[in-house]
């Protein structure tokens, strides 16, 4: 089955894109000096040989900012994606397998979070957090409000597995719920959960960019969202400083796009019904 994955052009392309950005974020400091503590010129200097992407409104090197922002955004995306996947999977698998009242309660909980718009909850929460909206906190907030979708998706899977023979057999043999869920249900869902994780990561990155754009991003770090926010508020548009917002836009898009492609490719391999 995995061999099919390596033959998929989309999968390889998506992976190449994603790991390309990941490598840029991780390895760039080894090849260049990232300096955002010191002004290197005037406000919004266009790209030059010394500063490939020019400067921002405070005369800081845009390329350094971008690499640091990329690291933060990937961190937020992966952390938020993990939280959303883990929480969603636990609730979804358990509810789907157990059924009955517990399932009903969990479903109400899930749908409740689904009905209240995530963005509004995030804004409300981050508005009432007094001090230190740190990057990690933002990631956890995103993760803990976007898990609903994973829960719904996983629950459907889990409840369909419930009726399978091997699960029924395990039940008859008197194994506990935890045992069955861990050994007889989760393994069958791994590839599915991984796809969920990929999509959650993409939406984590996009969500962080959105709330930072609204001025509710982290106070302590540079992320792609805060770079965009600063550019807009400091009239990069009016002054024609495209280098202050186009590269960050492209990076966010490329990450999300690559993750989407990976997901699509994986689906068409793992879910034969989607193969034409």
């Amino acid at each position: 089955m995995f061999r099919g994955l390596w033959r998929s052009v989309g999968f390889l392309f998506g992976c190449a894109l994603f790991f390309g950005t990941l490598l840029l974020a991780l390895l760039a400091p080894a090849f260049m000096t990232l300096d955002v503590g010191r002004r290197v010129g005037l406000a919004y200097m266009p790209p030059s040989r010394e500063h490939w992407l020019g400067t921002d409104h405070l005369g800081l090197d845009m390329l350094s900012l971008l690499v640091l922002g990329l690291r933060s955004s990937l961190y937020v995306g992966l952390l938020a994606g993990s939280v959303a996947t883990v929480v969603g999977t636990l609730i979804g698998v358990y509810g789907g397998y157990k059924g009955g009242l517990l399932d009903d309660v969990l479903t109400v909980l899930t749908n409740l979070f689904l009905v209240i718009p995530t963005l509004i909850v995030l804004i409300l929460l981050s508005g009432s957090l007094e001090e230190g909206r740190s990057l990690t906190l933002i990631a956890l907030l995103i993760g803990s409000t976007t898990w609903t979708w994973s829960a719904r998706a996983v629950r459907a899977q889990s409840s369909s597995l419930r009726a399978r023979d091997h699960v029924a057999l395990a039940r008859i043999n008197g194994y506990g719920t935890l045992h069955i869920v861990l050994l007889h249900i989760l393994p069958y869902l791994l590839s599915y959960i991984f796809m969920v994780f990929i999509l959650q990561t993409a939406s984590g990155i996009l969500t962080e960019a959105s709330i930072s754009m609204l001025g509710l991003g982290p106070y302590d770090s540079i992320s792609l969202g805060t770079i965009l926010n600063e550019a807009i508020r400091n009239e990069a548009l009016g002054d024609g400083a495209w280098w202050a917002f186009v590269p960050a836009t492209v990076l966010v898009t490329v990450i999300a796009f690559s993750l989407y492609i990976i997901n699509t490719a994986m689906e068409s391999v793992f879910n034969p019904r989607l193969r034409k």
């Binding site: 009903d104 309660v105 479903t107 109400v108 899930t110 749908n111 409740l112 009905v115 209240i116 718009p117 509004i120 909850v121 804004i123 409300l124 929460l125 508005g127 009432s128 957090l129 007094e130 979708w149 719904r152 998706a153 629950r155 459907a156 409840s159 369909s160 597995l161 599915y192 796809m195 969920v196 999509l199 993409a202 996009l206 960019a209 959105s210 754009m213 609204l214 965009l228 807009i232 548009l237 009016g238 024609g240 917002f245 836009t249 966010v252 898009t253 490329v254 999300a256 796009f257 989407y260 492609i261 997901n263 699509t264 689906e267 879910n271 034969p272 019904r273 989607l274 193969r275 034409k276």
Partner: protein
């Protein structure tokens, strides 16, 4: 009695769940913004009180606290105080009770930041703009997206290979970035289209052709910025669903029977549409909150900015009023779709009613979307 009317029973059952969800949601909406310990009165005092002497400032602050029901009073309306003479704050629970009581009477209270405007007035002034921008955009985007998605799935080939990556790409661009790029290129660099506002500065809203023309002109960029993304999302979902339906047994069987191609397509389309309808409901419900980005980037009138400024200024009555509206629209939209799907798909009606809103969802094994439904479509 209801046993004999499965449809009615279904409707009532759903309505009950929705009501419970609604209650929990407004409770959360009420308490969430009040978690922090900052007081909105501080903000008013900052603007009004900086030149007052200490005693008057305290007196004035207490007047506001009283006005917004943030301090406890005895029956005669006098402020209750602790031993140090400081006014006793009303507990959150008591505030919540008062809020519920007033809301039931249709009184959403007075805005703190925009004092003395009523929350109801603020919302009703902003809502038409939000609806005018979002409703046609989402519905139109949904229709076009679904048509394109279906087209890509059925025709396949070059159309699919071109359309699909484009749709993936547009849905990967953050919503506000589309707006920013449009403003930059068409509004500022080329100056083809206005980048700021809802209509010509020289006009007042009126029922005249010139006003409608002006509003349409100013509508183009905000519309496009949302439209592009909705189309992308919907096309991806629809394409996956259609491919999924193409592979189902009933389609294979129908083909085997030699059924008319048009009819098969019609059936498939209907089945593929069901989860898409849920998506539409969610999108429509979220539109009030989703308007924020477009309003910020284009200075377009509407509710989104009202919410954001209210949150930034801890304008509790306005926040709660807006979130009440948002929750209500989301729930009503979902309820409507729920019922609609119930009518279209008898399997749901007769099956075990699932808990909570947004029925016809993946929680129904064997329903419109099975366990192996594509992820991109159920998202």
């Amino acid at each position: 009695m209801l046993q004999n009317h499965p449809t009615l029973k279904h409707v009532f059952g759903r309505a009950g769940w929705y009501f419970i969800t609604f209650l929990v949601a407004i409770t959360i909406n009420f308490f969430l913004p009040r978690l922090g310990d900052s007081s909105p009165v501080d903000l008013i005092m900052a603007r009004a009180g900086s030149n007052l002497d200490a005693a008057t400032a305290r007196e004035q602050e207490e007047t506001y606290l009283l006005e917004f029901g943030l301090v406890q009073t005895d029956p005669s309306g006098k402020i209750l105080r602790d031993s140090a003479g400081k006014p006793l704050r009303t507990s959150l629970l008591a505030q919540f009770g008062r809020y519920l009581e007033l809301s039931l009477r249709g009184d959403l209270g007075t805005s703190i930041l925009q004092y003395p405007r009523r929350v109801g007035d603020i919302i009703s002034a902003a809502l038409p703009w939000t609806l005018a921008l979002q409703l046609p955009t989402i519905v139109l985007g949904w229709i076009v997206g679904n048509l394109l998605g279906a087209l890509a799935a059925y025709r396949g080939g070059v159309i699919d290979r071109v359309l699909y990556p484009i749709a993936l790409l547009t849905s990967a661009v953050p919503a506000f970035c589309v707006g920013i790029l449009l403003v930059y290129v068409f509004g500022i660099q080329l100056e083809w289209l206005p980048a700021v506002g809802g209509y010509d500065e020289g006009m007042l809203p009126e029922a005249s052709w010139s006003f409608i023309a002006s509003a349409s002109y100013y509508y183009v960029l905000p519309f496009t910025s949302i439209f592009v993304i909705v189309v992308g999302h919907q096309a991806i979902g629809m394409r996956s669903m259609c491919i999924y339906e193409l592979g189902t047994d009933y389609v294979k069987y129908a083909k085997l029977l030699g059924m008319n191609e048009r009819r098969i397509v019609l059936y498939m389309f209907r089945n593929a549409m069901l989860p898409q309808l849920t998506g539409l409901a969610l999108a429509l419900g979220a539109m009030v909150g989703g308007a924020l980005v477009a309003e910020m980037i284009f200075s377009y009138p509407g509710l989104g900015m009202a919410i954001l400024t209210a949150i930034q200024g801890n304008d509790y009555p306005l926040i709660t009023g807006c979130t009440l509206l948002i929750t209500a629209t989301v729930l009503v939209a979902n309820f409507a779709v729920d019922i609609l799907i119930g009518l279209l798909d008898p399997r749901i009606r007769s099956g075990r009613p699932s808990a909570g809103p947004t029925g016809g969802d993946t929680s129904q094994p064997g329903a419109a979307t099975g366990a192996d439904a594509p992820l991109m479509a159920v998202r």
